[in-house]
Symmetry: C2
Amino acid sequence: MKLYTWGRAPNPRRVLIYVAEKDIELEVVEAGEGAHLNDDYLARYEGRMVPMLELDDGTQIGEAMAICRYLEEAYPAPPLFGVNRVDRARVDMWERRAETEGFAGAAEVFRNATPAFAGRGLPAFEEPIEQIPALVERGRQRLARFYRRIDRQLADNRFIAGPRFSVADITALCVVDFATKAAKAGLPEDCANAMRWHAEVSARPSIAG
Amino acid sequence: MKLYTWGRAPNPRRVLIYVAEKDIELEVVEAGEGAHLNDDYLARYEGRMVPMLELDDGTQIGEAMAICRYLEEAYPAPPLFGVNRVDRARVDMWERRAETEGFAGAAEVFRNATPAFAGRGLPAFEEPIEQIPALVERGRQRLARFYRRIDRQLADNRFIAGPRFSVADITALCVVDFATKAAKAGLPEDCANAMRWHAEVSARPSIAG
């Protein structure tokens, strides 16, 4: 079982944190060189993104949460997708919001504002995708709404989906850190609940270590 | 248990098809009036989107696939999230691609091109979000890549994630139909595998009926 990653890219980071939380041993393979994925990797994997988990029989599983869910079945403890039916639904709901709202917003800012990503306004395409400058501001709006939303949620909850750490925290943390470092769009100071959560989660050995 | 929907909107449609496939009886509540969601619904549900499943104790579950997964635990037959560990990973992977690539592309075209959605370039916001005309073309590019991708996948597979109908088919079908009707960006004629799949899936009683 090999996990393909790429430097500090935020999507593989979700899986690396998950794997560290579970103490799962697997071979991690770097699929990128500088600002690009290897040609060999791109030719071998039609998804053309990281992360990708390759099983010993050659089966390729893409999408960070599909990989984590696959691992969860073999490594159920500690549970990171919830502990009962309603809890699992809450984790799933918040994790997906973090991806489709938070991650999408951070990626819009990053990909459309970063000079090194000129012509790569979207990932995985073979043809050039021009940057859209107006998406930088709209990405910030999406992120701002996501931040307010998790801030409200974290007023009454220790973690994103409730009282227990879950994959929803992993995705949300990777959104915040990616947005902070790559898009200069970190948590606003007035999101005190989210700031408290971010400090606590960042100190976990899977993340700090 | 109440499911909140809105006319022919594509995201609630995913859940309605799922529920029909499973023969699940639940109360369906219309949350929209014309081109807007009801003020009452918007005030009651912080997610400000449909679908939303409200349990008898008041718990609100948003996000179409979180709702379906929640239902899957109580109504496991027929399985629509895969039948073994690798199969579940494939369903999860393809369903998420359909959402983050296909759906995102169709929504970019629709929301930024439709005059009635001026000021609503993104869903759920309270403040106006201006349309970005350049996103219409980019959305078409995302959709085109998604269509080519499922066309290749469907060359060797009867359904999106393999030999069995799954939630990946439901999301992909709702993407195609939404893009066709609302964004004039349906499947290209040269995607013969995807056209064959679309015809077969559209004839299922849960969809045709």
